[in-house]
């Protein structure tokens, strides 16, 4: 397919032959690869490591979808996108899905015509300040210089928060996270603000993480989740239920280690059976193979495993589950039932 796409500039015939006119699911199957939009680099969520392998929580979702659809967790083409290019990349069909810690908002859903298929991380915007500044609340930041990473909802939340509290600030918009850190560490900003998870990830890379504190205020709701184009409901369902399968797997205790045994034969729990395809025909309804959910879970583990491996307390980022615990543990992570 690559050939006709690249060659397309030369041959008129090639241009049209790019992609068949069917839905995204068929396109992905025909292509044998999933094009997944991610960030250009945020440790823990999506960043290439020293060997050029993409690693992270969002990357895990991409891999799970690829495994569910194609049976191969490595059949993913990661497309790095910036805040500016991500929506066009999705709208124009350059990518099939976007898993770039993107906040689910009304206008993005309705006006920009995207479908958010769920939430894989409940986040909120926080502030990081150096300990020596002696600030204990964001409301004490009157007159402070604030570094913001552009291209997110962050600018808007920040303006709203300071306006609501009637205090002033000086925004310094920064293009990349690396430059934001540089400015913040050099003291060119008093505080650095972005999603609390991003702050934790950023702080983890500092020389002395202990010298910096995250302020208690979380000034916004940032439900982050994967999204697809409006109008292609079959594809939306595939991504939505792959995410739900990961969540349900954790809830039901299906992990990447025990899944081989559990899927070998139908067990006692009918929902596990339905999930793993040993009972019922959920996979067929989605247009996928019967073991789609098994593949998705095997790709990187269930939701909890993905979380622990990439951003959990055992990693350098060290995020607690908090709101992102299963509903059974008092969190917000909740999947509709598989039946």
């Amino acid at each position: 397919m690559k050939k006709s796409v690249f060659f397309g500039a030369l041959t008129l015939a090639g241009l049209g032959a790019g992609v068949a006119a069917a839905g995204t699911l068929d396109d992905v199957k025909a292509r044998g690869k999933l094009n997944c939009g991610v960030t250009t680099g945020l440790v823990g969520f999506a960043a290439p490591d020293a060997n050029g392998e993409w690693k992270g929580f969002d990357v895990g979702v991409c891999r799970a979808v690829a495994a569910a659809v194609l049976g191969d967790a490595t059949a993913v083409e990661f497309v790095p996108t910036t805040g500016k290019t991500r929506f066009t990349a999705l709208a124009s069909g350059e990518i099939d899905m976007l898993a770039r810690n993107t906040t689910w908002t009304f206008s993005r859903d309705v006006d920009l015509k995207f479908t958010f298929v769920g939430v894989n991380y409940y986040d909120g915007q926080g502030f990081m300040v150096p300990k020596e500044l002696g600030v204990s609340s964001a409301k004490e930041l009157d007159g402070a210089t604030v570094c913001i990473q552009t291209g997110t909802t962050t600018e808007l939340n920040l303006a709203d928060f300071f306006r609501a509290n009637n205090i002033s600030y000086e925004p310094v918009p920064i293009e990349t996270n690396a430059e934001g850190q540089q400015q913040y560490l050099a003291g060119a900003c008093d505080t650095y603000t972005t999603d609390a998870s991003g702050l934790a990830a950023t702080r983890a890379t500092f020389e002395n993480p202990g010298d910096h504190v995250l302020l208690p205020e979380i000034v916004s709701k940032e439900p982050l989740g994967p999204l697809v184009r409006h109008g292609d409901n079959e594809w939306g369902d595939v991504v939505r239920w792959t995410l739900n399968a990961l969540i349900t797997a954790e809830e039901l205790g299906v992990t990447s280690t025990n899944i081989a045994d559990m899927s070998a034969a139908p067990g006692d729990n009918p929902e596990v059976n339905r999930l793993l395809g040993t009972e019922g025909n959920l996979g067929e309804m989605l247009g996928l193979s019967a073991d789609w959910a098994k593949n998705a879970i095997m790709a990187g583990g269930n939701y909890g495993e993905l979380f622990e491996q990439n951003i959990g307390e055992s990693t350098s980022i060290g995020l607690a589950r908090g709101l992102n615990a299963q509903w059974t543990d008092g969190g917000l992570i909740y999947s509709p039932p598989f039946r």
């Binding site: 050939k3 992609v19 490591d49 083409e77 293009e175």
Partner: protein, 432 residues
């Protein structure tokens, strides 16, 4: 009477005084120093100021460079070893060397392919750059784009061969029909090339790339300095013919064609490259047929080529304008028609005059390829600002990385500009 005078003089020197060495202050190093460094008080002041500047720069940078470490695995380790001593942490360069040069996705066992393509580039470019070399080498130059495409992207060998066949077929038809009329040859050639491409495009099986000799590498996986080089070379070579066409179009008597060329050139020259890159990254996909995608690399190549062809057109227009009117009139009086006159008389001379200008545009364009980092492509600057600085190990190594990028660009651009100056001197000989 004159004799008397001779007798009154006591001594007449009959031999010349032996040459004595010039005073110490007027010779050798001292003279040079006096003339070049301390000619006047103001001059001496300038010298002292310049020495001070050099001292500040060197005393700041030399210990840092020579105290540098090359073998650690992270910045933290560097800091530990240095213990507050000044010293660079060049280890980031040695550890991420391949990423800086090839990006992070190009398969590591395939690095020989871009390397070979880069090496061959010199052979392909040599006959264009140096006129003394045998003209037969131009055949290799003609083959090079297809070879380089195949080496870098891999995949089926059929694709570049078909592309080459298309051009060859077009050229053959052109040769055949040019006897009757230029237009017939020109349009016939284009039509023939399209026919070959369309037919072959239908014949080549979809899975031709699957078991190819060289595994295929998607253009999204290109990165690092290789991406800068590729964008620079591709766009400059593509924009040359377009630039010539635009320059001729702008000189044309046909109002419509002239008007189109003027609008195009002025539009492109009036907007910054970065807005054109925004067009490539966020707008251009909407202009392609629905349900087709054209990858970002190609979209960027289209926009940068448009950009540089407008500038090259202006350089060539300068060359055309610099030719004496007699050349045009001479061509007319020989009874040559427009294409013949252009091909045989005008363009060879105009292009020769424009070469230094074209090289300047090429250097500028090569430098501007760093702007693609703004639209999330991982060229050299993009790699530095993105994955490398964002990684846990190398978070905060600015100077080493930026210095390295600056050095690479300096070497290439300075080399090209020296070539351009050499060429200018060479071309200038016939005016003396």
């Amino acid at each position: 009477m004159s004799d008397t005078h001779a007798q009154t003089v006591a001594f007449v020197r009959e031999t010349t005084i032996p040459e004595s060495p010039p005073p110490a202050a007027e010779t050798g190093a001292i003279k040079w120093l006096r003339q070049n460094l301390f000619a006047t008080p103001a001059n001496s002041l300038l010298t002292v100021a310049a020495l001070y500047v050099i001292w500040v720069v060197l005393s700041g940078s030399l210990p840092w460079i020579f105290g540098g470490l090359w073998t650690t695995t992270s910045l933290a380790e560097c800091r530990e070893i240095l213990q507050g001593r000044t010293g660079a942490c060049f280890s980031v360069l040695s550890e991420r060397w391949n990423q800086l040069l090839y990006g992070f996705k190009y398969p590591a066992d395939q690095y020989w392919r871009p390397n070979l393509a880069f090496l061959l580039l010199f052979f392909a470019a040599a006959p264009v750059l140096f006129f003394d070399l045998p003209r037969k080498m131009l055949i290799f130059t003609g083959l090079y784009p297809f070879l380089a495409y195949w080496l870098i992207w891999g995949g089926s060998l059929l694709v570049p061969i078909v592309a080459l066949l298309g051009f060859l077929g077009g050229a053959l038809v052109y040769q055949r029909f040019i006897k009757t009329s230029f237009a017939a040859g020109f349009f016939g050639g284009i039509a023939a090339a399209f026919v070959i491409w369309t037919v072959a495009g239908a014949i080549i099986p979809e899975n031709a790339s699957d078991n190819a000799m060289l595994s295929s590498v998607p253009s999204r996986d290109l990165g690092g300095f290789m991406l800068n080089m590729m964008l620079g070379v591709t766009c400059v070579s593509l924009s040359l013919p377009i630039g010539i066409a635009l320059a001729l179009g702008r000189q044309s008597d046909m109002p419509l064609i002239k008007w189109v060329c003027v609008v195009f050139i002025e539009f492109i020259r009036g907007v910054p490259l970065i807005t054109l890159l925004f067009v490539a990254s966020v707008m251009l996909s909407y202009f392609f047929p629905p349900e087709s995608t054209v990858d970002l690399f190609l979209r960027v190549v289209i926009m940068i080529t448009m950009f540089s062809s407008a500038y090259i057109a202006e350089v060539i227009r300068g060359g055309l304008a610099a030719l004496p009117k007699g050349q045009y009139e001479g061509a007319d009086s020989l009874g040559l028609d427009y294409p013949q006159a252009m091909q045989l008389i005008i363009l060879p001379q105009a292009l020769k005059i424009s070469i230094p200008g074209i090289v300047n545009v090429a250097v500028g364009l090569f430098k501007d390829t760093t702007l693609v980092s703004v639209i999330s492509m991982f060229d050299l600057v993009g790699m530095i600002r993105g994955p490398i600085l964002a990684s846990t190990e190398w978070n905060g190594v600015y100077w080493e990385l930026l210095g390295f990028a600056a050095l690479l660009f300096f070497v290439v651009c300075y080399g090209i500009s020296q070539y351009s100056q050499w060429l200018e001197r060479r071309l200038a000989t016939d005016h003396r």
